[in-house]
Subunit: 337 residues, 2 copies
């Protein structure tokens, strides 16, 4: 095999893989802490939490906390507890989300509530949430506690709002943006603000990193919401068409309903408001979203947040880490799952 | 009517009413803060939280935080935020409990999950839980954050343990005590430790008040577990026999199974382990618990915790408040609901 053929055979690492490789030593410490702190005398707790955590998310939020610290300080071990706290808040919301959404899959595997029951998922979520605050208290920064307690309240508000507008075709794009800003971008923003806070950066740097996290979170969520009408279960690692089945009002549907002709409007009313789903409906929804240009319009929205995220980084001094974070924003649209 | 007859017509206030009257100005501030902080732009949140909070629990936990402060300081307003935080943690656990227990009644009314759905109950619980940490952060005491984040994790652990041993007749009295110490007494202990912490009392006073709260919490929960096999729905303000239907392993059942003859053992195995319930079973369970002396043995257990709670107060300087708290411990057994 020629050198060129070899190089073609092994795809270059994507920005998330690059970030993970760059922070691999730090992540070892965080992973050890995750295992240690999800432990309990009550065996069901590490069993259930371990199931979800071992199922292996991409750990993108704790990576954000580590990266936002390493931009400014190469040696401090303060981000470990806080990155763990961020991951626990995320895991707790996943556990509660799956109960709320009645999901049967998560990351391509049976969801925790399917295996362990809704009851355990609610309570172990509560446990992880409490543990995240224990970790923050050990770190001792009231600023970080302030950031993450506010983010947690905003996440819950966003989830309730999402539930309130479910199956409601009158939902506006603004309402959708409010939901994802709360349920997804708030924790990304908080995770990215922690680094500048614990390394004592001035407030404009805090705000810049907060903006970066917010816009990356928006871009990833918007792209996810398009993928839910595009990829198949295997690629996305979650049940495809979940949003459709749950009547979740995401941007592709909001646009597709807006752009629909009379026949199209009737389809959306039947499937979303009257909740009458037949087997072929998902396929038809996917087709409508594509042909009306709704998926492209949604992707443009994501692209705009990518630009805003990258602009926010202009206030931060240049470094290899900054360049990886710059590329990571693009990855919201270039990834396939 | 003679003066004697008049005095007999109006029953004297019970210790909880006395405590509430004594702290009525403080409770006004706490109630205002409860209403203010459960508010949200998302209307479902104050609707649901307000339903549960207005349904009017006895507010015994925030009263404990106020009382434990007023023992040492008559004027500080620091306990208001923290009493609100304690009530929010309690309300969040009630919301999640009702989802876990699939309860259809709470305090004599339809439970929130029955009216608003399990999904909203989970998420509004998360919201209140986050808000409680926001309130603690505003107060700024890392010691209080430490106490309440640990208590929250212990509560969740206790709830998971309770779920794990459900319907298991081999459950030991120690396991039962571990469950109620975690799910109930931990928050009472934390609520009572806050006063000495924010008024700067020495560690032995902190420990004394913590012990008082723990033992009062134990006594109230043990007495509750007896009442669940004694009173009727109207008196207890919750569905009677819930513990029986849910297969909850409480002290009256643990004793009754231990003391049962062969026929009795078969009854408990059928109803608890095989979960085969007929209409007359609750009545028979009540009878067995009474005739085997199990209810009396459980009440003795509660009485012991009342004594320990009152002993803990010996380390605290005498005052009218202390004397009310002393009587409040007795109230665990003298109340009827």
């Amino acid at each position: 095999m020629s050198k060129l053929a070899q190089a073609q055979a092994i795809p270059p690492p994507n920005p998330l893989e690059e970030l993970t490789a760059h922070l691999s030593d730090d992540m070892k410490s965080v992973n050890a802490l995750i295992l240690e702190r999800m432990n309990s005398e009550v065996p069901l707790i590490p069993q259930l939490a371990g199931y979800l955590i071992a199922a292996g998310g991409k750990r993108i939020r704790p990576l954000m906390t580590l990266a936002s610290t390493r931009l400014f300080d190469q040696t401090t071990d303060r981000p470990y507890r806080l990155a763990t706290a961020v991951e626990f808040i995320h895991t707790a919301t996943l556990l509660h989300d799956d109960v709320v959404d009645e999901s049967d899959q998560r990351r391509g595997q049976a969801s925790a509530n399917t295996l362990f029951g809704n009851q355990s998922s609610v309570l172990v979520g509560d446990f992880l949430f409490s543990k995240s605050f224990e970790l923050m208290v050990e770190d001792g920064s009231i600023d970080v506690l302030d950031i993450l307690s506010k983010a947690s309240a905003v996440i819950a508000e966003g989830e309730v709002l999402q539930l309130s507008i479910q199956n409601t075709l009158e939902t506006t794009l603004d309402q959708y943006l409010q939901v994802i800003s709360a349920k997804t971008a708030a924790l990304f923003a908080a995770a990215c603000e922690i680094g500048p806070v614990i390394t004592g950066q001035p407030s404009e740097i805090r705000q810049a990193m907060r903006n970066y996290g917010h816009h990356v979170g928006m871009a990833f969520q918007i792209a996810d919401d398009v993928l839910d009408y595009q990829s198949n279960t295997k690629e996305l690692g979650k049940s495809i068409g979940d949003d459709f089945k749950e009547g979740k009002m995401t941007a592709p549907v909001i646009f597709a309903y807006e752009f629909a002709d009379e026949k199209g409007k009737k389809f959306w009313i039947r499937t979303f408001e009257q909740k009458e789903l037949t087997e072929k409906d998902l396929e038809h929804a996917q087709k409508l979203i594509k042909t009306t240009g709704s998926s492209q319009k949604t992707l443009d929205l994501a692209q705009n947040h990518i630009k805003l995220a990258q602009n926010a980084l202009k206030n931060v001094g240049d470094s290899e880490m900054k360049s990886i974070l710059h590329q990571l924003a693009d990855y919201a649209l270039t990834r396939k799952n």
